[in-house]
């Protein structure tokens, strides 16, 4: 029982640091470049009207940065884990939809230039599973409040 609890803690630690670093890096790439590049990537999925794609392009990188830093620091883990899981589920769902429709578009994950393929789907799928598992464990292991 203790061994599995220790393994869970190690898994949460590794997952949050790795996912946090990935999110910070993804945010950095998007914030370094003009916001229009990410807006073009979002627009190419053809799910949002232009004005919403532009707003999303300005907001999402900051959300990624905040969530990534919180994961790395290990603060508000249940909140940051939930945010990261929801973001990844959304991105993954949109990528699967685009791939299924045969849309040859840039995934927009780490800036332009990476066309959606089974490799990008596999990578994001692994991240979704890790984020969901990490968030579930964070909720299960939350401190019990005294009655």
């Amino acid at each position: 029982m203790m061994a599995s609890s220790k393994a869970a803690k190690i898994f949460v630690l590794v997952s949050r640091v790795v996912l946090g670093a990935i999110f910070v890096y993804a945010a950095y790439i998007k914030l370094r470049d003009p916001w229009q590049l990410f807006a073009m990537s979002i627009d190419s999925y053809q799910v949002l009207p232009l004005s919403m794609a532009e707003t999303a392009a300005r907001v999402i990188p900051w959300v990624e940065l905040a969530a990534g830093l919180m994961l790395i620091a290990g603060i508000w883990l249940r909140i940051s884990g939930t945010v990261v899981s929801l973001l990844l589920l959304t991105f993954f769902g949109l990528m699967v939809r685009a791939y299924a429709k045969g849309m040859e578009i840039s995934c927009g994950c780490f800036g332009p230039g990476e066309v959606i393929s089974w490799k990008t789907l596999l990578r994001d799928g692994v991240m979704v599973v890790a984020a969901l598992a990490m968030t579930s464990l964070a909720f299960m292991n939350r401190p019990k409040t005294a009655a």
């Binding site: 670093a21 890096y25 950095y28 790439i29 370094r32 470049d33 003009p34 229009q36 590049l37 807006a39 073009m40 990537s41 627009d43 190419s44 232009l50 794609a53 532009e54 040859e104 578009i105 840039s106 927009g108 800036g111 332009p112 230039g113 066309v115």
Partner: protein, 204 residues
């Protein structure tokens, strides 16, 4: 370590490849503050869309202002479906040497379905490719283009474009690179023209 290398690479976008240009394949003001490098394949339908829809819009909106310089590069994809891409690129590059690049590129994209097997051509596609090009050239120009299209210097020029694209990480067409000062940005495809304009307009 890898993350550090990636971050460092991200911090130094200006230390990338130097972009060369065949001045016969350029449009606009060479001293413009913004430069757009386009890597395309004459058999690629998305390249036709860029060439026939977006490129004229850019030329119309920014040609008079002299704000943008557009450079075309050949990137014939090395895939079985694109049988005549390389040959078309050789012809277009040969035509560039007599100042006819735009006319040849326009007709190749506009008549893609006539000569490109993957876009609808059934028989005699190689002959139709040449007839498509010949239709916009005089007989003297046709002779020059046919002779130059097999010239090693022309073949090398096309290959240089492909090599440049490979070094820049081009893996699909069209691939667009927007340069401003020391910065260079790879644009995702498809490009929304309204967002593209907002990006150009924000550049001084």
């Amino acid at each position: 370590m890898k993350l550090c290398a990636l971050l460092l690479a991200g911090l130094l976008p200006c230390l990338g490849q130097t972009l060369t240009a065949d001045t016969n394949k350029c449009f606009g003001n060479p001293m413009a503050s913004v430069r757009l490098d386009v890597f395309s394949d004459f058999e690629c339908p998305a390249c036709r869309a860029f060439h026939t829809e977006m490129l004229p819009q850019i030329e119309r909106d920014y040609g008079p202002t002299g704000k943008i310089y557009i450079v075309s590069h050949e990137y014939p994809l090395n895939i079985p479906a694109h049988k005549y891409s390389r040959e078309a690129a050789n012809y277009a590059t040969a035509a560039a040497r007599i100042g006819k690049y735009d006319a040849v590129a326009d007709t190749l994209f506009q008549n893609q379905a006539v000569w490109s097997e993957m876009n609808g051509c059934k028989v005699d596609c190689r002959r139709k490719l040449w007839e498509t090009i010949a239709a916009v050239l005089t007989s003297a120009e046709q002779k020059k283009v046919q002779a130059q299209a097999t010239d090693p210097a022309v073949l090398a020029e096309v290959q240089n474009d492909v090599d440049l694209g490979n070094r820049l990480g081009v893996n699909s067409t069209p691939s667009l690179f927007l340069s401003h000062g020391t910065q260079r940005f790879a644009l995702p495809w498809p490009v929304n023209y309204s967002i593209f304009r907002s990006m150009i307009d924000s550049m001084k």
